[in-house]
Each structure stands twice: as structure tokens, then as C-alpha cells.
């Protein structure tokens, strides 16, 4: 039986000396130095992670070379699927990233701006390596197309860019369907509302996406512990759960999460 996947994620930026380093958000704003990307990848590979996500948050052209070099070093240490995201805008970016050793690339803003990039990527490299990432935000007005009930109120989910600071007016559900039909192999659903709260994943959002596509869905943002993973798998139907700080700060091990799920009959790779 196919298992639910538990995926640790690192956000990588350049430190003061220009070396790649992992930073983790604490209480929404502060980014805390968390460790060396290659060392962390190695530890998670050994700790039983089902995949590994590496997000380049430098968003600068200068940082890109250094980052690809780091991706290669990570790829050499990790014998599980590796997804790399951040700053991927063109077919050539996809190619370079895969060549550096990534198995999948995660594309966000560039796909919204140029949806043809999804087809180009899928045709050239296969759907299995094209992950479309969405930063969703709840909106309580009449501008949406698909509405969900959240705490007694009706809202829709909007695709945002620039880390949720800018809306696009695009309905997440419509976009998810379009991305799927254009050849996305997986959808990576982040929630601006749940991000950093540790109060659990955005279940209405994740469920709405899962109900409307057949492409695998990775739920992200808001995980505070094993019970949140359980909820997103059983109530929303996600295929994978992503988390960062609970693993980085040793609040839970991957094994803790998997044992919790296994005891409750959620299929995991133990």
C-alpha cells in the first residue's frame, strides 16, 4: 500500500560570509540560523524522511551559482527524492537544477506569470519532476469562484506572490486544476494564514484542493506536531505532509510522527 509521506523542508539563504545556511522562521518574523544545509540533509536522510525539500530563499542571481553547488552536495548525501524550489523561472533553470541533482523542481510565481512553463517543463523532463507551489490566502469577499466554510464564515482561497504580501486575484482551486491539466506532477500547498502558527495545517484549503485534483498534494504550513499530520491526512486527504521547525528544533523526530500515524492506521514507511 502506498504510504503517506513525511517531508522535512529547509529554507536556505546565504549567511554574512556568503555561505549557504538554513534559516527557520520563529514567531512569523525572526529568522533563526538553524544549521548547515548539507549536514541537515544528511541527518534527515538517516532519520527516515520520505523526501527532502530544499528552498532557496536568497532570490538573487548572485546566490544562484552557490545554491546549485549546494544542491549538488545535498544530492550526493541524500538517497531519497529531493525537491528544489526558489528562483526557478525558465526551462533552463529547471534543467540546471535537475542536472545539479534535484529529482523535482518546485515552481511558484513563475508558473503563475507564465503557465506555459508547466507544459514546457513537463514535456522536456516529465510531469513527475514538475511541482507547482501555491501560497494561498483566505479571502472573505465575493471575488472568488470556489467557497469553503471556515468557522461559520464563507471564504475563498487566493493565490498570492511575494510571500503572501501581494494578491493575484486567482482562485487557488482554479489554478490547481489548470496546473494539473498543464502537466504538473504534484501540488505543494502553502497557507499564508497557517504559516508559522503551529496550530495545524489549513484543512479547508487542503481539502478543497485534494477534492478537485487527482495530482498528489503536499500540505505545508502550520504543522505543530503529529496530530496535525494525522488531521491533514485523514480529514483533508493530503498525500504528503511537510514540516520544518518541529523537526529542526527537535520538538519531534520523523520517527515520532510516523509512529503516531502508524498507531492510528495511517500507512507510513517505518
Amino acid at each position: 500500500m502506498l504510504t503517506k509521506r513525511i517531508i522535512p523542508c529547509i529554507d536556505v539563504d546565504l549567511d554574512e560570509d556568503g555561505n549557504p545556511a538554513v534559516y527557520t522562521g520563529v514567531n512569523f518574523e525572526d529568522l533563526k540560523y538553524t544549521g548547515d544545509p548539507v549536514e541537515m540533509a544528511k541527518l534527515y536522510n538517516e532519520a527516515g524522511a520520505d523526501e527532502f525539500v530544499f528552498l532557496d530563499i536568497t532570490a538573487s542571481a548572485e546566490g544562484r551559482e552557490t545554491m546549485l553547488d549546494t544542491v549538488s552536495k545535498v544530492a550526493d548525501e541524500v538517497f531519497i527524492p529531493l525537491t528544489v524550489g526558489g528562483g526557478i523561472r525558465t526551462r533552463d533553470d529547471i534543467k540546471e537544477t535537475l542536472r545539479a541533482g534535484a529529482d523535482k523542481v518546485s515552481i511558484n510565481t513563475a508558473a503563475l506569470q507564465n503557465p506555459d512553463l508547466i507544459e514546457e517543463g513537463a514535456r522536456s523532463f516529465g510531469s513527475q519532476c514538475i511541482v507547482i507551489s501555491v501560497d494561498a490566502r483566505r479571502r472573505y469577499d465575493e471575488a472568488g469562484e470556489h467557497y469553503a466554510e471556515v468557522d461559520g464564515e464563507s471564504c475563498w482561497f487566493e493565490c498570492t506572490v511575494k510571500g503572501g504580501r501581494e494578491g493575484t486575484g486567482v482562485d487557488v482551486i482554479e489554478w490547481a486544476r489548470e496546473a494539473e491539466s498543464r502537466g504538473a506532477g504534484e501540488l505543494f500547498i502553502n497557507s499564508i494564514d497557517a504559516d508559522g502558527t503551529k496550530d495545524g495545517y489549513d484543512i479547508p484549503l487542503t481539502k478543497a484542493v485534494c477534492d478537485n485534483v487527482s495530482t498528489p498534494v503536499i500540505a505545508s504550513s502550520g504543522c505543530g506536531g503529529p496530530e496535525d499530520m494525522y488531521e491533514v491526512f485523514t480529514e483533508a486527504g493530503a498525500d504528503a505532509g511537510l514540516a520544518a521547525s518541529i523537526f529542526h528544533f527537535d520538538e519531534y523526530t520523523i520517527q515520532d510522527v510516523k509512529e503516531y500515524l502508524d498507531e492510528r492506521d495511517v500507512p507510513v514507511r517505518l
Binding site: T3, D50, A75, F79, I80, L98, S127, S214, R269
Partner: protein
Amino acid sequence: MSTTQPPEETLADVVMVDYGLGNLRSAMRGLERAGANVVVSDDPADFDDADGIVLPGVGAFSEGMENAGPFREPLAEAAADGTPIFGICLGMQMLLTSSEEADHAGEGEVEGLDFIPGRNVRFDEGQKVPHMGWNELNVQRDHPLVEGVDGEYAYFVHSYYADPDDEDAVVASTDYGVEFPAVVANEEGTVFGTQFHPEKSGETGLTILRNFVEFCAER
């Protein structure tokens, strides 16, 4: 000691066939961890001295076969000599006679390498494709490749699966709506393949790669 540490000396010389597809880096690193000296090559002359040959693969069947065309004869010769040949994912599907995938793509009958008689078929309509993620290996019969991995999990990404004519070709199977072959081998046991990616299957995958390298070293 962690098994992911690189071994100190190499056990066997393995040629990984570079026919222009996919990311070969992970498979190469995995084989190196497993004790192989790996040469990535598009020159069939390199097959002669190899202790084993790996056919990697990501992508479509017809494109894969087209790219592998120049290697058809040299691979047949190597197989006849008893050199172990290991196909991974699409590389495994190419070991069979044909694939529905080429039919579905309107490309008619595309001939596989035909080391293992049979056809690759698509998962039924009701199943989410691709079958992507970690799934369990059920070993069906003894083969050196699968020693120590019964009941363990491996990482799959595929929409088609092998359907060999001879049931005995199935070394291990996996349940995804149907019980499909996860590992197949020819009658002599020297040509074999995994539908999953051992280089992406953590410790279990490294065990399989180590089994392969040891099998090559013994021959």
C-alpha cells in the same frame, strides 16, 4: 556503522549506459556507495570489460528505446555472455518485449530489448497515475538482488508496469490496486530490473544496489 558510508575499496566495475536521458548523478552516487567503480558511458566498447551494466531511465518508452537503439546489439551480446544487466524504472521496462505506452502515444509497436518476454501495461483507469511514493516490496522468489528487502519500502514513480509472459520472471511484487511486478528477472537470473528507483529508496535501495554490486563481483 551507518551503511551510507562509502566503502574503502571498490568491488566491481559497473558501466552505466548514458543514452541521453535523465539525471544519472543519483544512481551513480548510489552505486558508488554500494562499492562500485562507476563509468558513465555511451560507448558500447566499454561493456566488454564491465562486471555489470546499468540501464537507468526516466521518460517515455519509445524515446528511451530510440536512444538505446545503438546499444541493442552490444547489450544482447553482453547478456549472452552472462554479464549482469540491471534496468532501473524505464530501464527495467525496456528489458521487456514491448509497451502499451508506445501504442497509447500513437507510435505503434516499439520493440523493447526483449530479454524478458512480455509487455508493459498501464494501470487501470481507477488508479491515480503516476503511482508515486513509497510502497512495499513482497518478495516472490529467491534472487540475489532482493536479499534482505522483503517487506521493506521502495520509491516508485511510474504509470506503466511490466507484465511478463512467464510468472516466474516476477521476483518481487507491490500492491497498487493490482499486485504488479516490482522486480523482474530473466530465466538465467542475470538480466533483471526494478520498477522503483533504488537510488531514491534510502537504506533499502542501497541494500539492493549493494546486492547488485556483490553479484557483479562474484561473476
